[in-house]
Subunit: 90 residues, 5 copies
Amino acid sequence: MFIGKVVGSLWATRKDEKLNGLKFLLIEKQRNEHEADPALVVAVDHVGAGIGESVLITTGSSGRLSFDGKSIPVDMVIVGIIDTVDYPKE
Amino acid sequence: MFIGKVVGSLWATRKDEKLNGLKFLLIEKQRNEHEADPALVVAVDHVGAGIGESVLITTGSSGRLSFDGKSIPVDMVIVGIIDTVDYPKE
Amino acid sequence: MFIGKVVGSLWATRKDEKLNGLKFLLIEKQRNEHEADPALVVAVDHVGAGIGESVLITTGSSGRLSFDGKSIPVDMVIVGIIDTVDYPKE
Amino acid sequence: MFIGKVVGSLWATRKDEKLNGLKFLLIEKQRNEHEADPALVVAVDHVGAGIGESVLITTGSSGRLSFDGKSIPVDMVIVGIIDTVDYPKE
Amino acid sequence: MFIGKVVGSLWATRKDEKLNGLKFLLIEKQRNEHEADPALVVAVDHVGAGIGESVLITTGSSGRLSFDGKSIPVDMVIVGIIDTVDYPKE
């Protein structure tokens, strides 16, 4: 799992119908308190996250479990909205 | 999941027969609005994508779910054609 | 699996209810005896680990097995607290 | 999935008996038309590939599906021999 | 799968009880004939490997199959001891 920041969103009209109704958000991985990964990824929102929020993301078959056993082809899911991170003191 | 751009295709006559009839496309990962990953990957098309289009890609066992439980040995699947991406303002 | 060091923690009030009661810790991957990866990750604790401890981490669907078949959307789990590592002599 | 080139092979007499009879090949990942990844990987051949050939490789639990549900501990499988790749024009 | 070299070991007294009796070894990934990855990983031994030996490693849910369907939370398993690698001639 990793900490991400919601930085954008995307739309796809033609898609696998099992993805209908899902919200796809553009995510910036937070490498640590000071640095983000320049390579963005796409996650499906499952907790009502919005632009600018810090979120917890689960990947792979584990992420899909958020959808209670439905067979949805997603491999990155926002499973929580982060209130506070206690980063190591420097 | 990540955003990719279809940049080519490939043919394989001798292959696992479970792959017969599938279309294999060469994909450039979009790291962000301005940069692509130089390492190309190969994805199976499930939505009728064509060269030059921006697509949404799901990996691993999650990608396979697009084929409704068929046991196909693919680990990267195009699950949507992207209309618009709202990248972060700079 | 990899060796990590617990360096912080995080709180998320709004989250997938299947994550209720779990403890999320911030992990620094130990690349070797002298170096850590600057990109932190988040793991769920299953063995009572605390800040500063060296831990063994399992990823993906394998990590979930620590929770005995419960369908919890986590992909990184602390499965042991490390007493000693015999690093290669230099 | 990715494009690889078969560059060598390996032998292991003492191994998990479920791997008996399989052919292990050393693979160079082709990053694009001009570049290969210096880190080699090992894949199991399922289509009769030979040294120097360009192959299509599937990873993880998806790769195992090539062996029709047998529980074989392999995570990288050659699923096709590539005839032609249409790389992007430059 | 990848080629690794056993370079050390580790002990963890407090751990998931499903890991009892397993041997955890510190592994250096061999990128090619001349180079190793500086980031070490941890694998469970299933074939009696010892320090200094060259081994074949399977990752993820595939690696677990070495343990015949037991639900053990490990994601990297030594499945063979390598006798010879035919690296590409230079």
